[in-house]
């Protein structure tokens, strides 16, 4: 296999706040290969966005500090890259779209202006050419009438259209990686289906890797090649999509899947529930972050942070009990 496109290596991100140090990321590792669509799932506050934004250096410092870790982009550490070079990478090689298309576009400039601006920052072309390219990109993401709508302001678009524009903008400089941070959370299901379709189609077409962040396991199931599950600032499990859904190894993943109401199964019985609530990251548990809520907890879980181990080929998991022979059977 070729060199990974992106390799997040034991990343720590902490925030200094008045409430104390928020340990948002506590040793996250993740690898992305060219052309791959990887899902990153996890509950609110588990650190998905912070991980994603750290890649582009978008986390405000202060309050953020990076005590440890590297983010290797084609071999260079983005955390130590000077700002000038990082700017080239932002948008040019790695681009990003965000959850709320309503607020992610600057309300005071036209869509065309915002896309052209991005193009012109990364390539020396005339305003006119940039505009033509913007129209092309909008066309690609299925915007009706792109040549006219390019001069409209974000508020004149619907949510779905805005997100299309965001995708068009993100792809306009032919990046190698697109980070999509919950791109459909704010949208209705029918629109979500449109957006996911466009996202997958354009990514595959342009051979762009995608890091798709979501808390909806269904979204991941549909389009990802690989999935990483995040909990309490750590990747707790990572696997090819089919394997993960078929046979979750980490009790959290396991619980999560069983707690989702399934439309296709007629389930009048109670849902499985994970007791308690997610950890407060300013006072994270000492051992495994999931230990206080885990059904299978043992003493060791409360004191010692489990390592991310390669349980099987391409299957990474972070659990003390996974190596117990009959544990997998329990989960199944």
């Amino acid at each position: 296999m070729s060199q990974p496109l992106l390799h997040i290596d034991d990343l720590y991100v902490h925030f200094n706040t008045s409430d104390g140090v928020v340990q948002a990321i506590n040793g996250a590792s993740l690898t992305l290969n060219p052309g791959e669509i990887v899902g990153l799932v996890g509950e609110s506050g588990s650190g998905k966005s912070v991980t994603a934004m750290s890649i582009l250096g978008l986390v405000p410092k202060p309050p953020a500090i990076y005590p440890k870790g590297r983010i290797l982009w084609k071999g260079i550490d983005l955390l130590t890259t000077p700002d000038r070079e990082l700017r080239e990478i932002r948008g040019g090689e790695i681009s990003m779209i965000f959850q709320d298309p309503m607020t992610s576009l600057n309300p005071v400039y036209t869509i065309g202006h915002q896309i052209s601006e991005m193009i012109r920052v990364h390539s020396r072309i005339s305003a006119k050419t940039a505009k033509l390219r913007s129209i092309e990109m909008l066309d690609l993401v299925g915007m009706p009438n792109p040549a006219q709508r390019i001069d409209d302001y974000p508020h004149q678009f619907s949510g779905g259209m805005r997100q299309r524009a965001m995708i068009a903008m993100a792809l306009s400089c032919s990046p190698e990686l697109l980070i999509a941070d919950e791109p459909t959370t704010a949208l209705d299901v029918t629109i979500q289906a449109q957006i996911l379709e466009i996202l997958e189609k354009s990514a595959r077409e342009l051979n762009v890797s995608v890091l798709l962040i979501t808390h909806d396991l269904g979204v991941v199931a549909g389009i990802c090649d690989r999935v990483a599950v995040m909990y309490g600032g750590r990747i707790v499990e990572e696997a090819p999509v089919d394997d993960l859904f078929e046979r979750p190894l980490m009790p959290y993943t396991w619980g999560l899947m069983r707690s989702i109401p399934q439309m296709d199964k007629v389930s009048t019985k109670r849902l499985y529930t994970i007791p308690g609530s997610p950890p407060v990251m300013s006072r994270p548990p000492k051992g495994c972050a999931f230990a206080p809520r885990c059904e299978f907890v043992i003493d060791r879980c409360h004191t010692e942070v489990p390592q991310l181990i390669e349980y099987a080929p391409h299957r990474m998991v972070r659990c003390h009990r996974v190596s117990e022979p009959d544990f997998i059977a329990v989960l199944a």
Partner: protein, 329 residues
């Protein structure tokens, strides 16, 4: 946009009409007979008073006076001063040149100071500059204009003379025995200190507004988007953040432009500038109603225009506010 402008214009006219009527009521109806006040230390025979009353039409019923007032106003005639029969137009003309100069420079300086302080303290948040800026902006709020005006005169006028600090003696050909109240009103030097005093008060307030507005905008998602696009920090701040942060600032700036006249009254009095502000003050004290009303109309109209411009500039700054834009899809 056009129809919106027309509508707003009509609204402004209504506001001006209402405000002027209010002022008319205050000055013409309530006091009853301003002419009898003409008797000062020496009383005037009733016949003389009657002549004067008739001359100003004050023997007419109030509503007649009111309509006549508007009739004259439409012809551009603001009436005549009770004090010396001078036309209010002339008085206005005389005062306007000084006031306009003062307010223009004041408003300009205000904007410059506010933008500089607000921007630096928002961008360099928590830095020493930010803290000094905050102290400046908070501190200045407690100082009334007439105090800062006197203080400025003391610091830049009196002190350099008394201490022989020629380097500080900005107004060099200054009389030997200097007291408060003399300013060479004709040159730019004469206007700079008063303009600064006018500027500083609300500049502090606007700067604070700008700072908090910018800090809020800098947290917005589209700023993150802009950074993610690979834009330089400069471009993000000035191109993306500033324009969005301007919306509340424009409101405050508008309010302060309306209030600036009140500031000008004090400033003109402190610096003995012969502007509209001091004229209004003096005329109000001597109950020279036509002059007060005449000048007030200009001030009120100015306020209404400022409001109008502020409203229209929202639409320029923020396309969301355009009223007759395409319907949201």
């Amino acid at each position: 946009m056009f129809t919106y402008t027309i509508k707003r214009l009509l609204q402004s006219l209504i506001v001006v009409w209402a405000a002027v009527t209010l002022m008319f009521a205050l000055f013409f109806i309530i006091p009853g007979d301003p002419i009898s006040l003409k008797s000062g230390e020496k009383s005037l025979p009733p016949g003389i008073l009657a002549n004067i009353t008739a001359k100003y039409g004050l023997d007419q019923p109030t509503y007649v006076q009111y309509f006549r007032f508007w009739g004259h106003l439409f012809k551009g005639d603001l009436g005549y001063s009770y004090k010396n029969d001078k036309s209010v137009n002339t008085i206005l003309h005389d005062g306007l040149s000084t006031s306009a100069r003062l307010l223009f420079w004041g408003a300009l300086l205000q904007l410059i100071i506010a933008l500089t302080v607000g921007l630096t303290s928002a961008i360099k948040r928590g830095s020493l500059g930010d803290r000094i800026g905050t102290i400046f902006t908070v501190g200045i709020q407690g100082i009334p204009v007439f105090v800062s005006g006197l203080l400025a005169q003391y610091l830049f006028g009196v002190l350099p003379f008394q201490m022989h600090w020629d380097w500080l003696n900005f107004f060099k050909p200054w009389p030997q025995s200097w007291t408060a109240g003399v300013i060479p009103t004709d040159s730019w030097k004469g206007i700079i200190l008063p303009a600064l005093v006018v500027a500083v008060v609300d500049a502090a307030f606007i700067a604070r507004m700008l700072r908090s507005s910018l800090l809020e905008v800098l947290r917005a998602d589209y700023i993150r988007t802009a950074f993610a696009k690979g834009l330089s920090a400069r471009r993000v701040w000035f191109h993306h953040a500033l324009r969005n942060a301007m919306i509340p600032v424009v409101t405050v700036y508008g309010t302060s432009l309306i209030a600036i006249f009140g500031v000008a009254v004090q400033t003109e009095k402190v610096f003995s500038l012969p502007g509209m502000g001091s004229t209004i003050a003096d005329s109000a004290l001597s109950q020279d109603a036509p002059v007060v009303l005449g000048l007030a109309i200009v001030v009120i109209a100015f306020g209404a225009v400022v409001n109008l411009v502020v409203d229209l500039s929202y639409a320029l700054i923020d396309p969301r506010i355009k009223i007759d834009s395409k319907a949201v899809h």
